[in-house]
């Protein structure tokens, strides 16, 4: 299907990992605000359905492009495709893909550990650099990185995922610093417990938020030029406490 030329005149956003619940919710919020949306994901069957939904629901333009996060060689042509579809309208990108497997499994299986790091960190860096350069040259644009509260402090129950997200958080901070003079906005989003496929059926969760809530928070934070947000907001205080527990105590905790 050839994207229509109209998409090139409206402002547009690329959502990476669009079949994940949080990314999809954010894409819907952008669609509601009249953005043309390019949805990228590995799963083409579902990606096309999500794009169709946004077209119908938000009465906006939406296109799906297949995207494999760890296919680094393909990133440049993927980015070119986004440019082709959104043209001068390309204004923002939302990094919404991620990979979380069982921590115990990742400890024993190096492949799982590597994939955790590759998807959550290496692939994120590889693809965002392309967008960063484009926005920097244009002196305009926004980059949203969905990181995690798990990146704020390593815990035995998910430190592999957490360390990759910590890397992403640091990367986004650096990117923000670099792009500030160019007037490009970088937003770091740290969701707490969100009711997604990742967390469904897990025990011991509390204060679980809906993906729609996080999607709304993201859009609002973009409009308000925020740097770092926790979603829901109270995770800021939960993590404040967790970050300040002295290591001598923290290492003894079962978390």
């Amino acid at each position: 299907m050839e994207p229509s030329a109209i998409m090139q005149t409206t402002r547009g956003v690329v959502v990476l990992g669009a079949t994940s619940a949080i990314a999809r919710a954010a894409a819907i919020e952008f669609g509601r605000q009249g953005y043309a949306v390019v949805l990228a994901a590995r799963d083409a069957d579902e990606g096309v359905i999500v794009a169709t939904d946004i077209r119908v629901r938000c009465n906006t333009k939406a296109e799906f492009i297949a995207f494999e996060a760890t296919d680094y060689a393909g990133h440049a042509s993927f980015f070119a495709r986004c440019r082709e579809i959104l043209g001068e309208g390309l204004e923002g990108v939302v990094l919404g893909f991620g990979f979380l497997d069982d921590q115990k499994k990742a400890q024993k299986d190096p492949e799982t550990a590597r994939r955790t790091i590759d998807v959550n960190y290496t692939a994120a860096v590889s693809i965002l650099e392309l967008f960063a350069q484009f926005f920097e040259e244009r002196k305009k644009g926004f980059i949203v990185g969905i990181s995690s509260v798990a990146g704020d402090r390593g815990r035995q129950s998910n430190y592999l995922y957490g360390s990759a997200k910590a890397g992403l958080t640091a990367y986004l901070a650096g990117l923000r610093n670099r792009l500030y003079p160019a007037g490009v906005h970088v937003l770091t989003v740290k969701p707490g417990f969100v009711d997604t496929k990742m967390t469904f059926g897990m025990e011991g969760l509390f204060l679980v938020a809906t993906p729609e809530r996080v999607g709304k928070d993201i859009c609002k934070a973009v409009a308000r030029n925020r740097n770092i947000i926790y979603s829901p907001w109270f995770w800021h205080y939960i993590m404040l406490i967790i970050r300040h527990v002295p290591e001598i105590v923290f290492k003894r905790l079962r978390m």
């Binding site: 079949t19 619940a21 799963d43 069957d45 579902e46 359905i49 999500v50 169709t52 939904d53 119908v56 629901r57 938000c58 009465n59 496929k197 990742m198 469904f200 059926g201 897990m202």
Partner: protein, 467 residues
Amino acid sequence: MSRRWPTASVEKVEGMQRCASQKLSGWGRYPVEECHVYRPEKRRALPAILESGLEQSYIPRGLGRSYGDAAINRDRGVIDYSRLNRMMSFDPDTGVLECEAGVSFAEILDAFVPRGFFLPVLTGTKFVTVGGAIANDVHGKNHHVDGTFGNFVESFTLMTATGEILTCSPESNGEVFWATVGGIGLTGIILGARIRLRRIETAYVLVDYLRAANIDAALSAIAASDAQYQYSVAWVDCLAKGASLGRSVLMRGNHAGRDELPSSLGEPLRIRPRWMKTIPFDLPGFTLNPLTIRAFNTMYYSIHRDSVRTPVEYDSYFCPLDSIHHWNRMYGRRGFVQYQATFPLSDGKGLIDLLERISRSSRASFLAVLKRMGPAGKGLLSYPCEGYTITLDIPMRGDLIAFLHELDRHVLDHGGRLYCAKDAAALPETFAEMYPGIEAFKQVKGRLDPHNRFSSSMARRLGLVPQ
């Protein structure tokens, strides 16, 4: 079939698709039962769950707004369909929307009211899914004019027990269509549907409020002038006694046209976002007692003055309680039963007797709702039929079930019937007598699903499938 299915402690189906063992209930929070919940987020996860052989049976579930046990399945599978909520197409010329069954009424209103389209039938809450609306063949305040939701379903796709996908409409697979419309999820899983939306000029309803001093006055006002309104409902004070028994406030209206609204309301298809309130935890059981409810009812009756053509935002008119999240927590931890029954038009006495019984028993109920229903549709287990329907909330307490059985008997004696979406206690023999379509339903069910792979706690209680 003597095959035994392993149950419980099911960890994973297809990658990260987990099963969660959860205590589930309907909106009334009675009964509460342990169920094995699956929540597919991708279409292909659904056949994987059904084919996994992990559960003896499954029941699809939407947003859990059935009050009783229609969407729970004790120690067996529940398929939470709320994440398969994608819209597939919309034709502004015909108003036909095609969407997955997990799309909610709230989502449809959010997307389409600003474009001048409305749901053809809107329930008292917008937090229901399209799938649930079909499976319960829901009705709204326009039933006396337009009938049930099923009338506006062009077609739906149904995944049956064999994994086959049937496209059903009144014209093709009509038998399955009318067994599934109102069939409380027992014929299979509704995947998606094509529904016909209604054109509107504004997001407002022009409402006439009329107070009636007692039930007789209410019934005669309804009989005299309901035909002038597309939407009609009455709020009834169930605690008033004697000459005031059944005193009511009638709230009837029609969609407002563009030139019927004062310009001060602004863009006619937009409404202001409502201030959402939440009840954060279970209120103590004594919060709602005859005293507080009597006070509430008296206040409610006296603040409503007769008025005509008052513009009211659709949200407040159709779904007044939706602005309070978790309002069901008002009834405390033990929950409540919402009792809804229809009496034939010819039998006003049955209705009045019922009100008297409730009033006498001092089982507090506020927000009792009365509505005149139009003719029955074709759904084999569809609830709506011509007559007066009354709906009331009764808090759960020890002896309630026996009282409900007494009421059921009374309803049956007067030729009335109960609503599956509300019921939590009816006996199978009572139900069978109320629903003459039950045999035809069982035949279709037996043909589609001979091993009863689709079942629910309600289905077993009502004898729709074997225990």
